[in-house]
Amino acid sequence: MAVGSRLAVLFSAALAFVGVSSVLTARPAAAQGTVSVACGSVGAEFDLCKTGAEAWSKKTGNQVKVVSVPKDSNEQLALFQQLLSQKSGEIDVIRIDVVWPGLLAQHLVDLSKEVPKDVIAQHFPAIIEANTVGGKLVALPAFTDAGLLYYRKDLLEKYGRKPPTTWQDLTESAKIVQDGERKAGNDKMWGIVFQGRAYEGLTCNGLEWVDSFGGGTIVDGKGKVTINNPKAVAAIKLAGSWIKSIAPEGVLNYAEEEARGAFQSGNAVFMRNWPYAWALSQAPDSPTKGKVGVSALPKGGPDGKNTGTLGGWNWAVNKYSKNTKAAVDLAKYLTSPEEQKRAAIEVSFNPTIPALYKDKDILAKNPFIGDLLSTFTNAVARPSRVTGSKYNQVSSEFWNAVHEVLSGKSQAEESVAKLEKTLTRLSRNGKW
């Protein structure tokens, strides 16, 4: 008797063990007449998207179902690719990154046929073009992004430093303030935090360093691999010198929110992040409220340039949706001037409609949006259009090459040379 029950325990334990490890996928069931929308989940964007979708639901009488997605953009893409390649219509309205249109276009509705021309013409032409694949407009822009430099106004003032104009300048200031603050008792203080985890965010950070030094955009507009040049090497080398000196080693596993966590809790002098971090750093319960300044990212030396990687998110409609009409209407609503204005005021998202950059209400709440208009219009694009469906591999090779240098596993020169070889092979000699 006892033997039997013990054995049973053993067997059920073994069985449960096999069962527990199987992958669970959340599958939201979309009923007829409801529209499901995949909202992002970084910072405050989930609440913003949810309230927007609910307002639309109230206005039109349609049911709306909000689905939350992973934080990491690579994982969101993977989720959408899996759903769409199965021709699933479970999520009707999808928020896509500015580098995804080439990857997902064949699964998305051509909005140029569904949306009036004057509505499309409100947005920045460059962003509309980025969302156009083979003459098909696959998404409407919701907000645009570019990397920004956040700094602690109070600390720079305390040590008599100006907001940095070059990365070299920043390196020096960061060291001075960090060492001073540590002596004063804050031993958790670091000079700079950014997105150093091996993921898409590091590609954005890395591209900014390289481009600010005048080192090009990894792959140029014609498809030629340009990354192996002395300026790119100098840029990556400088970033590599930060680790453990002015940047915590943990930055090698930081994404946006980890970096913001360190900066907003008062443990970093500088931070590279997207505009969304501004509104949160000014929230009533934020320890850094009123102590933060924002500027364009520094130049790579006196003859370098201010730059920022072009980011931004766009609303697309699933081709396999059972409720296309309502879904298109929701996408239109979420990208309308009213919604963009609300986003700009509440969570400091940058509009994609030029007219809003002169809007008084927005400028009163988030003045930097007006100041940095040129940063957003001159942002550097990742080479996603020229590399097409291979973009993910290009990006992965680039972020891994940069990550190897940051973690001290290889020298910038050899890492970049190896990257050039890999990308050239991947591109079949620039043909892609």
Binding site: V3, R6, L7, V9, L10, F11, A13, A14, F17, V20, S21, D72, N74, L77, A78, Q81, Q82, S85, L103, Q106, K188, G196, R197, A198, Y199, P248, E249, G250, V251, L252, N253, Y254, E258, G261, A262, S265, N267, S389, N392, Q393, S396, N400, H403, S407, G408, K409
Partner: protein
């Protein structure tokens, strides 16, 4: 599972061997009944395990792409050739083997220690036994994310506690530092899966006949000797089963390194590598080749272990 079969052999098998003529009506009936009982399970297994497996193996010989499954072409062994030439793949293989070897060894030793302790007649043993199981009951993704926060270099509790105890002199970046990341992943796995080992070993310990221990006591055998000469040989079959289960699971580890460190090449396992190729890069053909290789490794490992394990099992009796 390997514990039971030898004692459960149906008697007619022996009869069948002795008499070489056609099996009796009863035997045939029983065989047919057995077939009927097995059939539903075989059908389900073919549908949920056999079919996907066959499809993956087929894809590994094609240039299939996630975007247009169905229009792939046969490419022979090309995917396996590129796989063999990719240093990142071999790094993933090394990571996985290191992970499996270290984590399973630690879990076995710790599991044994905990099981022996729980087997003793302690007060409140029932509660402790249940409590020990908690780490194993928490879904891996949840516990991995929990540990991710605990490992954080700036506000993580691990650094705070170690600093207070004086074990380290400055905070470490546990999941980011190239030299610590794999060890951090292994530590979480040990924390999580030691209870599983404990449970299996404890079940075996409680089946041991008490008379042997009484005899050893009467003969005045010292307890370390009792452990090595009596306990260990007797629980070895169960221990082998536990180690096989754990090793198989460790070789296909995915969730822990993925949640803790993403696609980072420093900790990527074979399964993480395969997923990146399959999903992120949409290269179903190449990713399937990686998955097929992983399957082959696990299959070979299982065969070796079961064969070796059974031989020992028989002579041990």
């Amino acid at each position: 599972m390997a514990v039971a079969p030898s004692s459960l052999h149906p008697p007619e098998v022996i009869g069948h061997k002795a008499v070489a003529v056609a099996p009796s009506l009863l035997t045939r009936q029983r065989r047919r009944a057995a077939l009927y009982f097995i059939l539903p399970m075989m059908t389900v297994l073919t549908a949920v395990a056999g079919w996907p497996l066959a499809r993956t193996i087929y894809f590994s010989f094609t240039n299939a792409n996630l975007d247009n499954l169905g229009s792939q072409e046969w490419v022979g062994f090309a995917n396996f050739v590129s796989l063999a030439q990719d240093p990142e793949w071999w790094r993933a293989v090394t990571n996985t083997v290191k992970f499996a070897a270290v984590s399973v060894s630690l879990e076995t030793v710790l599991g044994l220690v905990v099981a022996l302790t729980l087997n003793a007649n302690l007060k409140g043993r029932g509660i402790v036994r249940t409590a020990v199981l908690i780490p194993w009951a928490v879904p891996t993704v949840v516990s991995a994310q929990m540990w991710n926060w605990m490992y954080n270099d700036l506000y993580g509790v691990v650094n705070a506690v170690f600093l207070k105890l004086g074990l380290i002199d400055h905070p470490y970046a546990w999941t980011a530092s190239p030299s610590l990341a794999l060890a951090a992943v292994i530590a979480v796995d040990v924390w999580k899966t030691t209870p599983f080992m404990t449970l299996l070993i404890l079940a075996a310990l409680q089946l041991l006949p008490q008379e042997i221990y009484e005899a050893a006591k009467l003969d005045g055998i010292p307890s370390p000797k009792v452990f090595y000469k009596v306990t260990l040989p007797l629980i070895r079959p169960a221990l082998m089963v536990a180690i096989i289960f754990r090793s198989l699971d460790a070789l296909r580890i995915f969730d822990l390194p993925y949640v803790l460190t993403g696609n980072s090449r420093q900790t990527a396992s074979m399964a993480v590598y395969a997923r990146q190729q399959l999903i992120d890069f949409q290269d179903v053909g190449y990713g399937s080749a990686a998955s097929t290789f992983l399957f082959a490794v696990i299959a070979v490992f299982t065969i070796i272990y079961i064969t070796a394990g059974r031989v020992k099992f028989d002579t041990g009796r």
